[in-house]
Symmetry: C2
DNA sequence: CTGTAGCGGGGAAGCGCTTTCTCGGTCGAG
DNA sequence: CTCGACCGAGAAAGCGCTTCCCCGCTACAG
């Protein structure tokens, strides 16, 4: 049955087998603008399936001048934050008949830039950047230029999470979420806090910390500078951060806020390794609401982000028609309210505070 | 600086800008077999970077007749099992200068088949299937045929985890690992077991359960049929499974084995919701050793699989020269030394039992 | 019966790149 | 000084597909 032919079946082969022209075969299999006599169409379809034909997507892309792929760039695929977003993007893509190619920056802005350069060659319809958000001037400039080139050739760029570059973005309200969390925690009676944050250049980390601090500040509470430690944006970073906090002395601290869940979980393990029981001896809160925080003990209080939906809407944003009106609202209007309504480049995703056992409230303590 | 040109820069533009022929430009930028006068090369490179040129990978693929992409199929990207493997594949790929495209089957064998069909059109160098391993006859046949066609056109296929199709595979010793786990648990004094497994058609689940049962059997221990429940291969499946077990009555059970970690974690939460404290009232063990099992309480006893390495070696297997045959050690002798052992299609990955707090041992109880 | 419009098949010209092949130029050996 | 060998630039022929364009055909109005 399966003969040992060694080079792929081409459209030409199919056309020949069906006894029609190349043009007709192409139209029967893909082209939509013109109708093909049904008898011919059947013949072509039959020939294609008999030969086990499969369209060469590259050739199709060259001929059409456009591809059907979406490039997704994430920081670290084994981090549940990113993999949940990825799941959303993938879902949305294959609903739209698009293929997603995925690359990881390993949280290096340098690599992010390289990747964007390399991915441009793929001529994807869309590039979604869910990777690191950096504030490094130089990097930002080069990245923006590369992306601009991509867009001016007809591609779409979408960022996930807020940032200051003039592209479409799905904005996660890191600041507001953290602020709301702070308020709720104060309402629970907490007054003395510590925090574990990520590297300075990571906007996600700094935004969350800022929101949290400001929330506390609105109640006249401050986090002492030496009660804020910095670590890698990972589980191990959280673990290390907790140890450092303990070493610095946090006897008077009631609650530790880690800027993301994986760090919070790491921190819980870190504290426990020093004989401090999270939830009983000290409260903990995180950010993201990844799946596993429900299953750790105590269950973690956090700020929920609908990550899967974030991924889905990143794709949706990318796919919606380009700039509706003449009113091209470029760059600097990037602040929240883009008055002009037409080119509303940002989509905001709401976050919500979820209180769980890791913050029982100060009365209980 | 950035002019508003609206169609991508082509090689032709670059050649023109540099004042050389298309052929020379191509050779300077990509082609390796022939040397290009250094002065020309510099001119081309300068022109390319001035115009912000980026090679059209599709066109290149068509012209060369081969791509630089790797297609990865997983069951569910937000499951840490798959995302860890994916991380390994991605790492290996970009070390080899390959791009990975990723799709998810949502654990449906039907979708898996469709995906393979669609992906063939991409003409990837490699297809790696880390998705569901099914035992459904019909599906297997169609899948095998599709993959065979792919391979006979020069593609490489690699499966992750053992299965019965004739393709290269990175084999995970599910049976052996589960068996070893059983033995260790018996050594800890446990004698009365229950199990939560996945759907019947999932070979991974059945292999693990079989290994576990056989390990027990070698000590004359059996799991009562009504102490084995079946559920989805996910966290929620584990949760539900635990509840069902409780409902069936497991007062005499000392240890629950879940066929993977996410299910085990779900089960722990399920038990806890019924007032049964894992690790104290009942022991729990899982399989996979995903990252988070270290951070749940109690830390989970499990069987460790080096998931990241599994991903890496899946790619390595795909990239090693096809059936060594006459002993053609290609060009630069790249990568690992494939000494002899020509057609060794399988690579085995060892698993190891990791005992943690969730199985304190029967004495403690 | 003629003129015209619409339908739809097929030839052929691309799409952006690689890779033969041709061919002028250099260089060293005889 | 001549000749063959070699180097390397450029012309051109593809790669597998889409799509424009031409053209023969049928249908229908005048």
């Amino acid at each position: 049955m399966t003969d040992q032919r060694t080079s792929p079946v081409t459209l030409h082969d199919v056309a020949q087998e069906a006894g029609v022209s190349l043009a007709t075969a192409s139209r029967a299999l893909n082209g939509s603008s013109r109708t093909v006599n049904d008898a011919y169409r059947q013949r072509v379809l039959a020939a294609a399936s008999k030969l086990n034909y499969s369209t060469n997507l590259s050739a199709q892309a060259v001929a059409k001048g456009s591809t059907t792929s979406v490039a997704l760039i994430v920081g670290d695929i084994s981090d549940p934050y990113f993999s949940s977003i990825a799941a959303g993007v993938i879902k949305g893509s294959d609903d739209a008949g698009l293929i997603v190619t995925m690359s990881v920056t390993e949280r290096s802005t340098q690599r992010e830039l390289e990747l964007v350069r390399a991915l441009r060659g793929q001529r994807p319809r869309v590039i979604i950047l869910a990777g690191s958000r950096s504030s490094e001037e130089e990097h930002q400039g080069a990245l923006a230029q590369e992306l601009q080139a991509f867009e001016s050739n007809g591609g779409r760029v979408v960022f996930v999470s807020q940032h200051e570059l003039p592209f479409d973005t799905v904005r996660i309200d890191n600041y507001g979420g953290a602020r709301a969390l702070a308020l709720e925690l104060v309402a629970l009676g907490y007054t003395r806090f510590a925090a574990i944050t990520g590297e300075h250049a990571l906007l996600t980390a700094t935004d969350r910390l800022a929101g949290f601090s400001d929330g506390l500040a609105s109640h006249g509470i401050m986090i002492a500078p030496d009660h804020i430690v910095t670590g890698a944006f990972t589980r191990d970073g959280g673990y290390a951060g907790a140890l450092e906090l303990v070493d610095r002395g946090i006897d008077d601290v009631e609650l530790v806020f880690a800027v993301n869940d994986v760090m919070a979980i790491g921190a819980m393990s870190g504290l426990r390794s020093r004989g401090i029981e999270p939830g009983r001896d000290i409260a903990i809160a995180g950010f993201d609401d990844i799946q596993t925080v429900r299953d750790v003990t105590p269950a973690l209080t956090t700020v929920s982000i609908p990550l899967f939906e974030v991924g889905e809407s990143a794709l949706a944003v990318a796919l919606r028609p380009r700039d509706v009106g003449v009113g091209v609202v470029t760059g600097d209007g990037a602040g929240a309210g883009v008055a002009g309504a037409s080119a509303e480049r940002d989509v905001a995703v709401a976050t919500s505070v979820v209180l769980r056992a890791s913050t029982p409230g100060i009365a209980v303590r």
